[in-house]
């Protein structure tokens, strides 16, 4: 330990003692003011040894009516300690365990050297690892607890002082180092969330899961070698060089956030810009939105935000792309879901090979780009909008990502698509060969975000319910497809069903009502019901809590001339009378010739529920039948039975029948059966086949080079 570090630690511990006359660790009186959770952390990076040395003071007030005998902590970096951690065992089961920790001392871990109450009572002997989750991974060390000498009563505060030492992992997941680049997340002992009557909600670090913590005030001092450029959550308050000039201590502070991440790299270029709300948002936009949302204009005005970009030199040419995307995100998330409440946002171009790209932390997120990027491909824009969006869904509305990941990932994927589509329109598919963009040569398809989401969503429907605890998904693919894409597609369907303005009100209400709190799925459903004025519980029951496939379609369409005569033997006036086919034809001809009678066609359409998912509430399947003369008929069906037939009498036969013509139910897994034409038309299929033919010709010709 260097002298600088010792000095810092001394200052950290002495300062609170001098500041507070209370030397009792557990204050007997209730703390009515201030954040119930406060962190004061000092950490030093030992870049040669790949280690962190930290001291942490946690002040925690019991916000419940329970007597709490212990405290549970996350020690996330122990997930990188060995292959017996829950995370790496799950990776191995998935067949995705790479040898990330091998060589170069790549394993990572965190040791608590001492944990004590502020009065000096040593709690270290009571420290034990806990295995709260099932299926059990008994060797996992990512959750620990300490016992208090006496339980912490309602409203009482406890102060803990922790000394910890961590070995930084060579990147396995989200945190780590590569050469001189560091991305440091989930790095300090962090208490779980105490839930009244239930105890500590403190899950192990799993392959699929993200995080859950209480809002807190952070004051963090980070000491790094002077050459490093540092970025962190919150606002930088100071940067003080050590006496010999070799080290610099940065101080960051931020209130009302629930995590703290930082990064250090000598190669970063630091660029700062301001989001100037008055320049970015016009009065007209505010006026229009105010009318749509029914919210006073003053509530829609956005604050200015300081935008900080840490970018690698090789991506320097993309600085403006990064800022444009961030400005777009701040603007639309702010206008639609509520103003961004923090003064700063730090956007980090993730250090090369640290595996830290595309990840969110309070007031800081990592984007991700490459040296060769086509402007037609919306990357890094998509990832910037998405990760900034997590400031809202995860950052401010802080759901439990372990248990209900869709509440942030699904909602944020949905809102990302909205912002991206509004600002950029369709983006081109990204494809590369050996890292070189193929889009330079080939026009790949362009798509809206919701279209791509739907593609993944329909493939994942029967794998797991969306609202499955993260670590209990059947596979990593199922987790990603359900939590992100399927949830987003369902929300898109909800938007199409309720209407865009109403859905905006739902989302804004949910955001503003649950800021700085931990909502559950039921809380979201209640907001939907309240704002829409309908009971939409069926929607969530069918699509979020079950694996029901949504598929309505047209199974039959038939038009034929209406007949007055029918073949067969009939009892007429007590006698059997046979009507022959020839009689029918004759009568038909005569009818036409004599009366110039207009032919009437009877069109029969059968609409079918192919999937298990049922519509409910006021929702109906809309059927549209278009006839040869261009007229059309509309019908509704409640969609409860397996099928329903509709009959129409018109002077012309039907051209086609279509359910859900407005594509409200985007979640429908089979759109091709949503319509049925009276006559087959092959031209589209021929075109598709001709494309395939060309590719086959070329593949075969290439193959012939070997022969």
């Amino acid at each position: 330990m260097s002298n600088t570090r010792s000095g810092l630690f001394l200052a950290l511990f002495i300062a609170p003692l001098l500041a507070s006359p209370l030397d009792g660790a557990q204050e007997a009186r209730k703390q009515e003011e201030g954040s119930p959770l406060r962190y004061v952390i000092s950490v030093e990076l030992d870049s040669r040894g790949r280690r962190l040395f930290g001291k942490e003071e946690i002040s925690w007030r019991n916000p419940t009516n329970d007597e709490i005998p212990d405290m549970w902590f996350h020690l996330y970096w122990n997930a990188f300690k060995n292959e017996r951690s829950a995370m790496l065992e799950e990776f191995r089961t998935e067949g995705a365990l790479e040898r990330a920790g091998d060589g170069e001392g790549g394993w990572g871990y965190i040791d608590i050297n001492r944990i004590a109450l502020a009065d000096g009572t040593d709690l270290t002997p009571t420290l034990e690892f806990m295995i709260p989750d099932w299926p059990a991974h008994p060797h996992d060390q990512t959750v620990a607890r300490v016992r208090f000498p006496i339980p912490v009563g309602p409203g009482e505060e406890v102060r803990l002082q922790i000394e910890f030492e961590s070995k930084i992992p060579r990147t396995i997941s989200r945190s780590g180092y590569y050469r001189d680049s560091y991305f440091i997340a989930q790095w300090f002992p962090k208490p779980g969330v105490y839930e009244e009557g239930k105890g500590w909600n403190c899950h192990q670090y799993h392959m699929n899961s993200e995080f859950f913590a209480d809002f807190a005030d952070f004051a963090v001092e980070i000491t790094v070698p002077a050459a490093f450029v540092v970025g962190a959550s919150g606002k930088q308050k100071s940067a003080v060089s050590s006496a010999d000039g070799k080290m610099v201590t940065y101080r960051f502070e931020q209130t009302r956030i629930h995590d703290f991440a930082w990064t250090a790299d000598p190669a970063y270029i630091k660029v700062e810009r301001n989001f100037q709300a008055a320049r970015e948002v016009s009065e007209q936009e505010i006026t229009e939105l105010s009318a749509r949302l029914g919210v006073p204009m003053e509530e829609l005005r956005l604050p200015d935000v300081k935008m900080i970009l840490l970018i690698k030199p090789e991506h320097k040419a993309q600085i403006e792309r990064h800022f444009r995307a961030l400005r777009t995100a701040i603007k639309y998330y702010g206008l639609w879901y509520g103003p961004y409440p923090y003064e700063t946002v730090t956007m980090v171009d993730p250090p090369f090979r640290t595996g830290s790209g595309g990840m969110e932390y309070p007031t800081l997120f990592t984007a991700g780009t490459g040296v060769l990027r086509d402007n037609k491909v919306l990357s890094p824009e998509g990832v910037i909008i998405h990760e900034f969006g997590h400031s809202y869904w995860y950052g401010l509305v802080a759901n439990n990502e372990f248990e209900e990941a869709w509440l942030d990932e699904g909602i944020n994927t949905y809102t990302t698509g909205r912002v991206q589509d509004k600002a950029y329109g369709r983006g081109m598919f990204s494809a590369s060969f050996s890292g070189w963009p193929l889009t330079w040569l080939v026009n790949l398809p362009r798509y809206f975000d919701f279209e791509l989401n739907r593609l993944a969503a329909i493939m994942a429907v029967e794998l797991d319910p969306i609202r499955t605890p993260s670590w209990l998904f059947s596979s990593r693919m199922s987790y990603a497809a359900n939590v992100y894409m399927r949830a987003a597609t369902c929300l898109n369907s909800l938007e199409r069903y309720l209407g865009e303005a109403l859905m905006l009100r739902v989302m804004r209400t949910f955001q503003m009502r649950w800021r700085y709190r931990h909502p559950r799925t039921q809380d979201f459903i209640e907001v939907v019901n309240e704002i829409s004025g309908q009971d939409m519980s069926w929607f969530f029951e069918q699509l979020f809590f079950n694996t029901h496939n949504f598929d309505y379609g047209v199974s039959r369409l038939r038009s034929e001339e209406k007949r007055t005569l029918y073949a067969g033997v009939f009892d007429i006036n007590g006698k059997k009378q046979e009507v022959k086919r020839a009689d029918i034809d004759k009568a038909r001809r005569q009818g036409r010739e004599k009366d110039n009678q207009e032919t009437v066609y009877v069109t029969n359409v059968t609409v079918r529920r192919f999937g298990e998912a049922l519509l409910g509430g006021e929702a109906r399947v809309k059927l549209r039948v278009v006839f040869e003369d261009g007229t059309e008929e509309l019908r509704d069906w409640d969609g409860q039975d397996r099928w329903k037939s509709f009959e129409f009498e018109k002077p012309v036969p039907a051209k086609f029948a279509q359910v859900d013509p407005d594509l409200v139910w985007l979640i429908d897994s089979n759109l091709s059966n949503n319509s049925l034409k009276a006559k087959a038309r092959r031209s589209g299929v021929i075109q598709l086949a001709s494309r395939l033919l060309f590719w086959v010709q070329n593949v075969l010709h290439t193959l012939s080079a070997l022969g």
Binding site: V371, S434, Y447
Partner: protein, 307 residues
């Protein structure tokens, strides 16, 4: 005769033997139709009565792509089996056709007729198939083993990279080196085939060994010629891709696209014939055909030089 003149001779041959392109295009086209037919009928049965099928005209759209993927998600093993099986069949067919291509190139001024083309296909199929079997070993040794060894320094370089540029350049160089090696192996066995026709020999192994001697002293000239023809393929591909970007999608667009695609494919076939024509020229210039070959055909070899 220098590579430029040989290249010119090759061009002249391909123009004279243009009927070869017609045969090859017809055969490949109909073979591809057979490969595609099951998919066509599948799409037709599922999509021809759906409004979604009309969206195919409007360009690629993830909604219908999604539907296709969802609908046929159980089919990949069947599709892979079908494509794999037909590809193997085509590989054998291409060995057969090469006999016709090289045979007709070697037939001098003689016209390419249906009968003579397929006569040569059948005549050389056995020996070309043996060359194919030997070439598998060659490809395995050179690309499989040597290629892997050659990849090691690139991988090490990439592993130690400090920026993404290193990995990009490393992978591009690795790919380029592998392509060049592939071109050498392909060229080598092309010359084996050409020499079998030129010498009218049935001894594939002997021709392979003899080819080492032939190319040893002329390697760079032969390779330059090969790469020059390869460059035509690369350039034509670029032209095709640029053209595709500019073509309309609506109205007559699909028809124009189809014609453009087939024009490109014809270009590919032509390049393939040009490759054999230049190789045959190069071989006959540096190693004149034996009398047996000359006597077996009514016409003289393309040039009397070297006789």
């Amino acid at each position: 005769m220098g590579p430029g003149k040989i290249f010119g001779q090759g061009l002249r041959i391909t123009i004279q033997k243009r009927r070869l392109i017609a045969y090859l295009w017809t055969i490949t086209f109909f073979f591809s139709l057979v490969v595609v037919a099951p998919f066509y009928f599948l799409f037709q049965s599922h999509l021809s009565r759906s409004l979604l099928g009309e969206n195919f005209f409007l360009g690629t759209d993830l909604l219908w792509i999604g539907d296709l993927i969802y609908k046929y998600q159980e089919m990949p093993p069947l599709v892979i089996g079908w494509i794999g099986g037909t590809s193997l069949l085509f590989l054998v067919l291409s060995i057969f056709l090469k006999g016709g291509i090289i045979g007709r190139i070697a037939a001098g001024e003689e016209k390419v007729t249906f009968q003579s083309f397929f006569g040569d296909c059948g005549r050389y199929f056995g020996r070309f198939f043996r060359v194919f079997l030997i070439s598998i070993i060659g490809y395995f040794l050179v690309l499989g083993l040597f290629g892997r060894l050659l990849s090691i320094p690139f991988r090490l370089w990439s592993k130690r990279a400090s920026t993404e540029w290193t990995t990009l350049i490393s992978s591009a160089l690795r790919l380029l080196v592998l392509l060049l090696i592939f071109s050498i192996v392909k060229m080598f066995f092309d010359y084996v085939r050409v020499s079998l026709v030129s010498e009218d020999s049935r001894r594939a192994v002997r021709a392979t060994v003899g080819n080492f001697r032939f190319l040893r002293s002329r390697f760079f000239k032969a390779w330059t010629l090969f790469l020059a023809v390869g460059l035509i393929f690369v350039l034509s591909t670029c032209v095709y891709l640029i053209g595709m970007k500019a073509l309309p999608k609506a109205g007559l667009g699909p028809v124009i696209v189809f014609v453009w695609q087939q024009a490109y494919f014809l270009m590919r076939l032509w390049t393939g014939i040009l490759l054999f024509a230049t190789e045959y020229q190069f071989l006959t210039v540096h190693r004149p055909p034996t009398s047996s070959r000359v006597n077996s055909d009514s016409g003289p070899p393309w040039t009397g030089q070297g006789k």
